[in-house]
């Protein structure tokens, strides 16, 4: 009924230590994990080389403004990984722990209490893992030494008493480890004689609870439980609720849903329409509450048409860079929503919009050429040669002629442009199958996935037909590991390197987006699948179509084993139909960053018993 306060500072340091460590240890582990593992500095040599190549290509054409912007926003993440509040709290926390531990070890009162703890192993001088035999022999040895009858006669009274006490302790220790009843006592109460005196108290010094500091303490608790805690929880809750799983603001998502619900099929989708919708994103409003969607639309158009926005107002370019950089996640969220509405057209145009924004090129039939650097637009568009729309067609001409077509007079500039053009990855389909792991065909209600074998090649390379690639290079291993997880092999491919995108505000990696639709109703059947891993090694091969010759059906000097075959696997969201027959699917593999890098083909799924 009567509680003692912790006058001797015996217990409150332990209480405080426990409370601090409860939070500190998980936080420390989390921060260490972040620092060490969350880097993508775990890149392979090949990945680093490719990254360097594209970074070099892009740097030449990137304006100073954008480089500065990148320095500010890309590096911000790097630095903040080490110098942030959480790390500071961790360091301060551990320093405090050290202080507490030191205080505890210097506290005599605690030491005294510790001394009173009954430790039979220590008394008998044996280790904790000693066997029964060791216990017996240790007791025998010590009892011989300390037995009252065996004590020497010339010891003083005090020494005698202490020896006798010691003997009693030793006997008790032995019994605590061997005798059943006493052992039970020891295990239950920590002492062989049964429950010792226990004191209940409050692990806080008196001054905090009853003294002058007590109103402060009450205030502290009230603030913590009544104000700080609800505020933090509320803030976290609204933050979680405001963003969808794909990382876009819920208001943005509901705007897109509204647009698609009210979308009339009579309205043709265009990139301009999608940009109009994008400009209503809540994220932009949060960045710049003073600007309207019309402003954002204008800025996006400025970006695509490579107009300097600073002429319209101070610092508008920075505003433009920020919203353009944000378009990446908003467009991906929009793509997801379009897939939810099964709208193939909108999804296709969303990806076209992506390309336009990344390359800062309007969506025209000539975009493939206009994405190259140093192109003289007027000269190219008014050129007298047959209309050239594709990089592939461009590379049928010799370098000098290309210079004339693109209106590039400077040799160095031309070389650079050709270098960029030959490093834009083109994707060629070698083989496309519906695969059911462990089966040779697709059976009703099985779960097939789409397996694509592709060749990443340069527009400069001679076309390699499927017949030129031996089947052995396309076959996949049939071992158990592969059956268990057929998608694992995709992750063994290197990360796609950084894009050549000198007009995009941040460094980015390109990706391909796979859309699958049913030919029967022309609607998407599932959410888009992103491809982030493919080897670009083939791009550096010298296999110029202007020089390589054909010998009948074979290509002179072509060694298939020198080339890397890429694999794309698209899981299907639904099982094969119940009835046998043929179902046609349209597969669109579209690049998010480059024009001319797409695949669009039809696959037949033959469902057989």
């Amino acid at each position: 009924l009567n509680y003692d306060y912790d006058e001797g500072s015996e217990t409150w340091p332990f209480f405080l230590l426990t409370v601090i460590l409860m939070g500190l240890i998980p936080l420390t582990i989390m921060q260490l994990y972040r620092l060490i593992f969350a880097n993508d500095s775990l890149e392979t040599k090949e990945e680093l080389q490719e990254d360097e190549l594209y970074a070099k290509l892009g740097k030449l054409d990137t304006k100073q403004e954008i480089l500065e912007f990148r320095m500010k926003y890309d590096n911000k993440n790097q630095i903040s990984k080490v110098f942030n509040w959480r790390n500071l709290i961790v360091i301060v926390g551990w320093a405090f722990v050290a202080l507490l531990v030191q205080r505890i070890s210097n506290n005599d009162a605690i030491k005294q209490a510790a001394v009173g703890i009954f430790d039979p192993y220590e008394l008998l001088g044996i280790s904790v893992s000693a066997s029964d035999r060791d216990i017996k022999s240790a007791y025998r040895k010590l009892s011989v030494k300390f037995h009252p009858d065996k004590l020497s006669k010339d010891l003083s009274q005090e020494e005698r008493t202490s020896m006798e006490e010691k003997y009693v302790q030793i006997t008790k220790a032995y019994e605590a480890l061997t005798d059943e009843v006493i052992k039970e006592n020891f295990l239950k109460y920590g002492h062989p004689d049964g429950p010792q005196s226990m004191s209940h108290g409050i692990a806080l010094p008196k001054f905090l609870v009853e003294g002058s500091a007590s109103p402060l303490l009450i205030l502290f608790y009230v603030a913590l439980l009544g104000i700080i805690l609800p505020y933090l929880v509320g803030k976290w809750w609204t933050k979680t609720q405001s963003y969808t799983k794909k990382g876009i603001h819920t208001k943005t998502a509901s705007y897109f849903v509204d647009r698609l619900v009210n979308y009339k099929p009579s309205e043709i989708v265009t990139v301009d329409l999608i940009i109009k919708w994008l400009s209503h994103a809540e994220e932009f409003k949060l960045f710049y509450p003073d600007l309207t969607p019309a402003d954002f639309e204008e800025l996006l158009h400025d970006h695509i048409n490579r107009i300097n926005s600073n002429e319209k107002g101070p610092n508008r370019n920075v505003v433009k860079f920020r919203i353009v950089a944000k378009c990446h996640s908003i467009l991906l969220g929009f793509l997801d929503i379009a897939a939810g509405f099964r709208n193939l057209d909108v999804a296709n145009y969303a990806l076209d919009t992506f390309k336009c924004i990344v390359q800062a090129v309007p969506n025209s039939p000539k975009a493939q050429i206009l994405q190259l650097p140093n192109v003289n637009k007027e000269q190219f568009e008014n050129g007298s040669v047959d209309d050239i729309y594709t990089l592939g067609k461009l590379f049928t001409f010799d370098d000098e002629k290309i210079g004339k077509i693109l209106g590039i007079k400077d040799k160095k500039q031309l070389d650079h442009t050709l270098s960029v053009a030959s490093n834009i990855p083109h994707i060629r389909l070698i083989k496309a199958d519906f695969v059911v792991p462990g089966e040779t065909q697709v059976t009703p209600l099985s779960t097939p996935h789409i397996s694509l074998k592709v060749l990443i090649r340069s527009a400069k390379h001679k076309i390699i037909q499927t017949e030129h690639i031996p089947e052995s290079m396309l076959a996949e291993s049939q071992d158990f590991e592969h059956m268990r997880d057929p998608f694992a092999m995709v992750n063994e491919q290197p990360l796609i390197p950084y894009s050549y995108a000198p007009f995009f505000p941040t460094m980015r990696r390109s990706a391909w987006c796979c859309l699958v639709s049913l030919q029967k109703d022309n609607k998407l059947i599932q959410t888009p699948v992103m491809v982030n891993r493919l080897s670009f090694q083939n791009l550096s091969k010298s296999f110029d179509k202007r020089q390589v010759k054909m010998i009948g059906k074979d290509i002179e000097g072509f060694k298939p084993e020198d080339w890397v075959i890429g694999t794309i696997k698209i899981p299907l969201g639904q099982p094969a139909p119940q009835q046998t027959g043929t179902v046609f699917f349209r597969v669109v593999v579209k690049s998010t960053d480059y024009f001319g890098s797409d695949l669009d083909f039809t696959m037949a799924m033959h469902v057989k018993e």
Binding site: P265, T390, K393, N522, T602
Partner: protein, 190 residues
């Protein structure tokens, strides 16, 4: 909403704030109202009106005659007029199935004329309309692929041919068009 007692039409009180859907709904209601008011027969049915059918048929047959006489631009005009006549004379409560079939029938003729006369974008849009009404027959895809090829949109032509072949796998004309698309694409991509 406001209601006009004289012509029995409704209108939005504040048209600026409303989105398109309510405006469309109101326009529909008003048209229906106007049609009903203009209806003189108290026992009207969804049967298509004889009078209108005659007018439309006349214009259409004029067009067919002009085709036989090889006056293609005139034929196109006649058939376009026939379609416009249908839109004007037919009321919204006449059977939808019949109106749709009538329009589809006339459009097919119109599309063929447009293709012959080199109006490929017009033909393409009419074909898209037919596809949108659920008409996915092989001739629609054949004509769509053809129009796109003539417009040099080889990739889009291939997409149309592929869809056509998915729905009509044995159609020889589509197969031939597919080969033509591929031939053109090879050239297009260098």
């Amino acid at each position: 909403l406001s209601y006009n007692q004289n012509n029995k039409q409704i209108a939005l009180l504040d048209p600026e704030t409303e989105t398109e859907t309510p405006q469309t709904n109101i326009a529909q209601i008003n048209k229906l109202t106007a049609d009903l008011i203009a209806e003189s027969n108290p026992n009207f049915t969804p049967q298509p009106k004889e009078e209108a059918s005659k007018l439309i048929k006349n214009l259409f047959e004029t067009g067919l005659k002009q085709i036989k006489q090889n006056k293609l631009p005139d034929a196109l005009k006649s058939i376009t007029l026939a379609i416009q006549m249908a839109k004007r004379k037919r009321t919204s409560y006449e059977a939808f199935g019949i109106q749709l079939q009538e329009l589809q029938f006339m459009l097919r003729q119109k599309i063929d004329l447009q293709l012959l006369l080199g109006k490929f974008v017009d033909a393409l849009e009419d074909l898209e309309f037919l596809l949108g009404t659920g008409m996915a027959s092989n001739d629609v895809f054949i004509r769509k692929t053809d129009a796109l090829l003539k417009l040099k949109k080889f990739q889009l032509a291939k997409v149309a041919a592929e869809r056509g072949l998915s729905l009509h796998p044995n159609d020889t004309k589509l197969k031939a068009l597919m080969m033509e698309c591929n031939r053109n694409l090879v050239e297009f991509n260098g």
